[in-house]
Symmetry: C2
């Protein structure tokens, strides 16, 4: 295993120290493993997410004005605990309630549910939006139902903008739910990720094969397929997503995210192939992100996320955001 | 070779199609392989850079208001041609002259020199700033003198801000030169990159070794060293850079860039180690970038760049910028 790390057991703690050093605008609680805005905004609905680490910039890279108020970092590929989520809620809630943004993995769902009960007992009103957007498989290694992946980024941005401009908890929850319901994703792995604590690839992927529909923890996808061209892979991803939801007749937000080990030149190439297919099928892409947004450690590959947006979502998408990984308008 | 590509010979052309599809605010000339602002700003000094591809987001990801006016993309790890540079100058020059920002590699230097002569013959005044900031080695595979690496990003941002606010060619050249002279970098490779046209790693790096001071094309560095911890690598990089230039008593801009195959969690961890060492040595870091800014295809590893800044450079650093890879204030 070749990684820029010290002790494998301390990767999360050490990475959070780096986040703290690089971002004085964030309050990094190294004990609770919560990354929060240094200055909570009074009267605003608090947006809180979190999950296993190893998917950076998700979620800590999306904390800041216009997006999340706090992110709870679990160990690599492991849900954070209810205590962390409660600590986050206590830190950033200012009386207007909190929205938990939860990716659909059994551990995350249970822990955020427990945290919501704990927060409620402390007088913090909590609503939850669940993201389950991965069209690859219906149930998976760590999920009942679909896995939650790239649409999470879009929920965090759009609901974050709504909260920032003063929408109340019901309204923020409503728009978050609308984004969650209208986003679909699918990914492909060219290589396995290697967990620091394990020291070898999580699964075996021969030099001439890829995993179509891989999960962000290396969960099996739809098929183990022969190595294919970018255009062929784009065709598979686009077809699977379009077969699952109607993206015609509405503005679409597209995100092509690297999985951590794939360079930007390949991601742009891949997006070119995706854009061409979408155009052929009459889909209007209104906004685009290409880069690393939801990753799986050092896995090579990418995921495609499409959101069937509407004018309100586009307006909130364009609203100012100032986080480590997404920044515009401020 | 596992990459998200179609024909290996068409990687650059296909990637540029993706850039065009993702960024309607850019004018991508697929024939000349020039990425330019769609709308040049009249009366502004034109900033033009370029180099071999494979280092994305450098340079095309830095085209936009507040940074470059145009970037010339060579084939992977190959200098663009004088014709491309001339085409770029003709496209974005509006009468106030052009600054060429050139990384110190023999091919780039010769081609930009020839392009400057061609531009001059067309009535476009050109000045050039050369970046040669890599402290690892004095001469290298493709250089006389030091290689030009990460400081290039800082030159493009700071000189870009000066040009945007109306500084003339002499003034833009002067601040670009000051940045170039006060920036230092060094990198480390954990793995080799694989060129699409070659299909196998450029050099052999055993599982228990790293290349300290590697170049962004895989050029040999200072030493082939045993695999080391992030803290040990940080110590080597920081010591080499601080031994080469005085970074005390001035605000420092730090950039920790991934080389393309290293995930963000490791980059933040690495930055934490760097920040701790800089603090111990009395260096004041005023601004920080952590992420992929100058890469080497899918190489795993990172590079550290430090700039001894001054108040003027900081002011220009903070000025609005709106490019694919750096965006704030707008």
């Amino acid at each position: 295993m070749k990684k820029l790390i010290d002790a494998p057991s301390e990767v999360l703690a050490d990475a959070l120290k780096g986040v703290a050093a690089a971002h004085p605008e964030l309050a990094v609680d190294l004990a609770a493993r919560v990354v929060a805005r240094a200055t909570p905004k009074p009267g605003k609905v608090a947006l809180i997410s979190g999950g296993g680490s190893g998917h950076e910039p998700l979620h800590s890279g999306f904390v800041g004005p216009g997006m999340l108020d706090a992110a709870c970092a679990g160990e690599v590929f492991t849900s954070p605990t209810p205590d962390q989520m409660l600590a986050a809620a206590q830190t950033v809630s200012t009386g207007a309630g909190a929205l938990f943004i939860v990716k659909n993995y059994t551990g995350d769902v249970l822990n955020f549910e427990m945290a919501a009960e704990l927060a409620d007992a402390e007088g913090i009103a909590v609503k939850t939006v669940l993201v389950a957007d991965d069209v690859a498989v219906e149930d998976s290694t760590w999920t009942a139902g679909r896995r939650g992946v790239g649409t999470t980024v879009l929920v965090e941005k759009i609901a974050g903008a709504a909260a920032e401009e003063g929408a109340d908890l019901d309204a923020v929850h409503a728009v978050a739910t609308r984004v969650s319901e209208n986003g679909r994703s699918m990914g492909v792995a060219l290589t396995s990720a290697t967990l620091p604590s394990v020291g070898k690839p999580s699964f075996d992927l021969p030099e001439d094969e890829i995993e179509m529909g891989v999960g962000i923890h290396g969960e099996p996808g739809r098929t183990r397929a022969p190595l294919a061209s970018a255009s062929e892979i784009a065709e598979t991803l686009v077809s699977a997503i379009l077969a699952d939801h109607d993206f015609t007749g509405a503005p679409v937000i597209a995100m092509l995210s690297g999985l951590g080990g794939t360079p930007l030149i390949e991601l742009y190439l891949m997006y070119g192939a995706v854009a061409s297919l979408l155009e052929q099928r009459g889909i209007t892409v209104a906004r685009v992100l290409v880069g690393d947004y939801i990753t799986s450690l050092d896995m090579a590959g990418c995921s495609l996320t499409l959101l069937r947006a509407d004018d309100e979502m586009l307006r909130l998408w364009d609203a100012p955001v100032s986080t480590a990984a997404l920044r515009w308008g401020v």
